[in-house]
Amino acid sequence: MITIFKARKIITMNPAHAHTTHVAVRDGRILGTGLLEDLAGWGDYTLDEQFADKVLMPGLIEAHSHLMEGSLWAYTYVGYFDRMSPEGDMQKGCKNLADVLAKLKEAEAKIEDPDEAMPAWSLDPIYFDNVRVTRHDLDQVSSTRPIGIMHASGHIMNVNSKALELAGLLRTGVNHDGVPLGADGMPLGELKGPDVMTPVSPHVGFDRDMLACDETGMQRFGKLCVRAGVTTATDLASKLPDEVVNLFADVTSRANYPTRIVSLRYHHGISPEDLIAHAEELKTKSTDMLRLGKIKVVVDGSIQGFSARLREPGYFNGAPNGLWYISPEHLAYILENALAKGIHVNTHTNGDQATQLVIETMTAALLKHPSPDHRFVLQHCQLADAAQFRKIAKLGLCVNLFANHHFYWGDEHYKLTVGPERAERMNAAGTALREGVPLAIHSDAPITPLGPLFTGWCAVNRLTASGRTLGEADKISVAEALHAITLGAAYTLHMDQEIGSIEAGKRADFAVLENDPEEIGGDALKDVAVWGTVQGGRIFPVADL
């Protein structure tokens, strides 16, 4: 059964055949692209003209997201920016604290059980002049049910008095940097950092394992992918116990599941030896729609949480250097053994000292285990400078830069965390490409919304929310951005032989667009409307979600 899709334009990402109008598909694979007469020789076909006025691109690839983006939609969204829910409800942003409280009250009124916990997410007081939200504010919403709001950064939570009471923290004498106290000596309900969030989060309805995802969350994640034109997405850090692997395998194997999931085994909480063994075991469980066997190593924390490891001159506001989440010795063990066994490793480094540690450790590991095509990926790698990118290129490493960060937190980085010069070089996509580093760009959803075209817009324009351009020299072109969210991302996943471009033999994964991203202009790239996707030859219109 051959289907030939006719489109207004097909952007193939295959330079030999860059643009065309028809693509032939059989059993979820591409037979070829070209004019109708070029493809007719494959035999009997059905001509599908529903995309005759659409633009097709290779299915977009989100190479750094978390399935948790899907599960969070079970909770109340109180972010500053308008955000599309999986079901297509455009939720209005909360522009001040009053908006936040009003939205919470509205959601609260719908819950019948007065004791039921109420979790909410994506609060960002940075946009309300950093006004401190307190338990007294949230007590206006309810004094009987515990309420907790996760901040957009994921590093801070606000809770009400009931939540503190349940956690045994509604008392004087709490002595912790992450728990600010009021004039009465009682905690104000702001919990800063994972150490102080975890004792309270189960009481406000957040799962103990924040990165875990359930079936409903996976379905919602799939819907968000279709809305964003995404056909392959990563779940970048999971513990992947058997029951989770079974759930992922079950859901992704269903005929109506629209997204190929690449889930990485998180290094934390397991010995390096067991990590390598688990990755090897997981690899054998991969399917077409669920790819396993890769490792994620978190090396440091976050820049806005002041837990990233920075080289000189350190934090702009004088904060002490951040935290290591792995010892250099364990990192070396993992990199060496992964190279020896052909396991693909992705490292999270935000600060440039953490990036430098990976560079130096890889340099030594590659002397022991030369590996011509390892493609290990530095994820985030936000503060790398030109010299580091040169080394990264030489070592055969890839980068996946956090382009969205400029828009959401660029102003904070400029004013507070790293200062003007280093804020301008953050996520230096232009430098990476000039130095020959394979490049992907990402959203880190749910930290910022899933949407590779928006992420491309961020890398092209480098604008902050307040309108400041951060790093003119590191802007990339629209063509480079489109490459980064398709073939570039596929390369970093070792999947460029099967996805990332529209050409013979590859998976029939397409983003179906209403507008032409090559014509609309870089400043409007985020406004390209997505009609839906084709994944493995299956059609997923946004309108049917």
Binding site: A167, L169, H176, V196, S271, L323
Partner: protein, 295 residues
């Protein structure tokens, strides 16, 4: 003291990779002598407990001789602590082995957020052969320094395979970072269990040299029965020729007071806010610490 008025005590055991935490933990288990210790480790990895101490192994919990247990907390310390605290009967004391790069001060203050859990103190181990290099390392130097800065007790380890000059150098390097923590030498984990269960700071007047050996000097914690007169108690200690130093907090009819003894001098002061009753006494009266073979 009973559990109900103090909460479940947790000693945070810190130190960079290879500093000897596992060796020390095994020695503590051999000295448990009826105390039900719960050992919490980040991950089991190469099993951290000597085989002869193990009675039964589960996925996350190992039952040990004498009612002790060892569990791994992975990436959810709070949940694991909750499980330990809920054990019936509860353990007498938890020794929490932090990962090599974790900051014990942060762990200790987080423990304070858990109802029914109280931090006994922070013990930081330093390998005398490696500590200077670690402190000078671009990547981990500040982490190791911050670990030492949080210590109530620093234990210099592997002193048996280092020369005296190296021990002295290591002691000086450590002293620059660990404030008024007590610094002791202990090869092969030879340290009195009480010191680990109740680590307390001792003001250091001559920063530099270790304050004694966990083996040669007798260092112990004494908790007087019932209220005492602080002046009388401190004077009595100072008059005992074998007592070199002592510091801690005693219960008096007027409340808790802090005492300090250096040779024949003593003083009594107001206690710090979170003072626990107990006095660390270092004396020449060496009592051999139990060896592994006669445990």
């Amino acid at each position: 003291m009973t559990l109900s008025d103090t909460g479940l005590l947790v000693t945070v055991l810190s130190g960079y990779l290879g500093a000897g935490k596992t060796t020390l933990v095994n020695q503590m288990l051999r000295q448990a002598n009826g105390k039900r210790l719960a050992i919490m480790v980040n991950e089991f990895g190469d099993l951290p407990i000597d085989a002869d101490l193990i009675e039964a192994e589960g996925d996350d919990l190992i039952a040990l001789a004498g009612g002790c247990v060892c569990c791994s907390y992975g990436d959810d310390l709070i949940a694991a602590l909750g499980q330990m605290a809920a054990m019936q009967p509860p353990p007498d004391h938890i020794i929490l082995e932090a990962s090599g790069v974790a900051l014990p001060a942060a762990i200790a203050s987080s423990l304070g957020l858990m109802p029914g859990i109280k931090t006994a103190g922070v013990v930081v181990l330093a390998d005398v052969g490696l500590i200077e290099g670690q402190l000078a390392n671009d990547y981990i130097g500040d982490t190791v320094a911050r670990q030492l800065g949080a210590a109530d007790l620093v234990v210099l380890t592997k002193t048996d395979i280092a020369g005296p000059s190296q021990v002295l150098r290591a002691g000086k390097a450590v002293a620059k970072h660990c404030g008024d923590a007590l610094i002791l030498e202990a090869a092969q984990g030879q340290l009195a269990l009480d010191l680990v269960l109740h680590p307390q700071r001792l003001a250091v007047y001559e920063a530099g040299s270790p304050h004694g050996s966990g083996k040669g000097l007798n260092t112990r914690v004494e908790t007087p029965e019932g209220p005492v007169d602080a002046e009388t108690y401190a004077r009595a200690l100072a008059q005992r020729p074998e007592v070199i130093r002592a510091k801690g907090h005693v219960q008096t009819p007027q409340g808790v007071r802090t005492i300090q003894v250096v040779a024949e001098q003593w003083e009594v002061r107001d206690p710090p806010r979170d003072a626990q009753v107990g006095v660390v006494i270092i004396s020449l009266d060496a009592t051999p610490i139990r060896q592994p073979e006669n445990a």
